[in-house]
Symmetry: none
Subunit: 200 residues, 4 copies
DNA sequence: TATGAATGAGGTTTCATTCAT
DNA sequence: GATGAATGAAACCTCATTCAT
């Protein structure tokens, strides 16, 4: 039992907990998962869990944060990249679909268990998500100013259609079915662009 | 104490319970709502509730059933009506949006708390919803056979986009905001049709 | 719906209830049987039951009473009959076994659910049973005075052995098995007599 | 606060619960004893009880198990001991009576509340009891093969009489009355042997 | 850093009984 | 004689969290 060994094992505890919580919250829901079942499945004790997380709510919040931070970081990459906005928006859209599918458990939890967070944290997450959509729509605006996107359709409608469809994925998408994440990302991005791009 | 009086009073208990449950489940979630809080809000006793409903789950199921039965009945009306399929599909789409907004509480519950039902009932509800979508898409097929709808786009994509957007309504639509239910229904129907209709 | 018809039906209510209660209390125990299940099985309503019986306890008490009254009446028949006491005791013993088997449900209830009665009624039933045993043992004493039964063995031991064995029937006797009620009655009576009769 | 101290204190909770449950279940019956009354009497909290026992049923089962395991262990001692079978069987019989009286509460519970266990556990206990009787009767058979016991009386009758009488003890035996456990054991063993031993 | 026994409030549900009709 | 909706107390059990070690 060297130090490295021990360090590895203990640093694994929060990660194992998060991984197991993600799996279980997605599978049976946040409230149907008891702390005891969770720690048993993760192979740690209750005491250990409460050493790393203040509460069960804290665990849920961490899952939200991790997914949203990742998506926002990726979006920023496309927003700040060089090149024509149309190509960057299309890439960002495809990327959101692909990463939503790759992190389906987290995505399901976000849409299903947001209301289980404390009101305060619900507000924080809602703000973060609104921020994401605004940054996304800012690219649409950018394209409009440049004249490559049509200006007639209201932004709200565009957002509803696209984010609604992404959100809806968790309701029907099954791994191993017909389409892979990358393919589906292309489909969705294509539909978004066809609604935005000026005809002719 | 006439007959009508008695009928009203006794039939009022289940109805009051359903109404209050719908409101509370939508507002704070199914598991955040205790039976005690629910019956207090409805002004009945716990015993009375369990006289009419076998369990808290039963109450949730009744809410699901009521919404789905209503939507299906309305869809059937459009499916069996005379006239060109394009018009009937557009009307059905607008109607779904409008009734989803009018019954926003129920709609939110359906998408957020499905996983709180017993596995058996989850299957029943999923089957009912699948059935709804199939009937809806049958109208799309009908239009394709008649040559009024394009055949290139896969049905799954059409369904995902449209139903995803409807589903997503509960995440952002707020009563008293810009658009009313009828207007929004027209917008959504318009977008659906523009994706389906053959160009020129 | 003539009067006779109606009379028959209503007089059948207490009987149907007693019959069903006997069956259910024996099968699943007194406390595991709810009043609702009982009245449903008997095909009557709760109100009807409470019209004839003051409480669930009352129903249990009636079952006890009916069995004990019947057994006591039969014992009295043998006690007061003419002829040598040995023959009458043997017949009474065989009869107890046979009727216990014929009314196995009641017998099981008596030994298993006595403690569920109100303390007052428990005392009443215990007194009645003690009385039965005393009348039974009075016949043994009679035989001793006449010199046909041995006097060495204490009465308590005789009673314990015989009544213990009768009581124990409910634990192992299964209808349709090897021995019928009458045969087993003869076996038990034979064993009792062989322990009482003077040798040689 | 040494190690011994801690060990004693923590092991005391399940034991205190079992002791109190045995006393109360025997006195007023399993279902007349609420979990709240039980834990109050044992001086622990409900949570503590459910930490050690999965359910109220579990507590009942533990009482059954403890008595049956003890009895079986003692019987095995006599079965495997050296010496003539008649003496060993007599000793085993006397021992069963004595230990049944010493553990009268448990004995009463076993015969009165077996039907309150889950069906599965009822089967387990019945099997264990059947096993006990078979081991007991195997000693009778052994004696018959050696020619020391009569062969005419069927084993079932022997078992019914003896175990019936033992079982019946709980119905009439009162501590402090005439006979002590050891004496009564001798009486019962004597009666069993007199029925089994060949005459002359 | 980690344990796991213990807490105690609160959860859902059951049920014998009553009573207006 | 009979109904069945309604009561309300009490039942069993769960669970997130704490804390002495």
């Amino acid at each position: 039992m060297g130090e490295g060994d021990r360090g590895e094992r203990s640093s694994a505890v929060p990660e194992r907990l998060l991984a197991e919580a993600t799996r279980m919250f997605a599978e049976r829901g946040f409230e149907r998962t008891s702390v005891q079942e969770l720690v048993s499945a993760a192979g740690v004790t209750k005491g250990a869990m409460y050493h790393y997380f203040d509460s069960k709510d804290d665990l849920l919040y961490a899952i939200f944060q991790r997914l949203l931070a990742m998506q926002r970081e990726r979006l920023d990459g496309y927003a700040k990249a060089p090149g024509p906005v149309a190509g960057r928006l299309r890439a960002a859209a495809a990327d959101l679909v692909r990463t939503s599918i790759e992190n389906m458990d987290e995505s399901v939890i976000v849409f299903r268990s947001l209301h289980m967070l404390s009101p305060e944290r619900q507000r924080a997450i809602r703000a973060e998500r609104r921020d994401y959509q605004e940054r996304f729509l800012a690219m649409v605006e950018e394209g409009r100013r440049e004249g490559v996107f049509r200006a007639e359709v209201p932004l709200t409608i565009v957002a509803t259609q696209f984010f609604g469809a992404v959100h809806h994925l968790g309701m029907w998408y099954r791994r191993g079915g017909g389409l892979g994440g990358a393919e589906l990302g292309e489909h969705f991005a294509e539909m978004l662009m066809s609604g935005l791009l000026a005809r002719d």
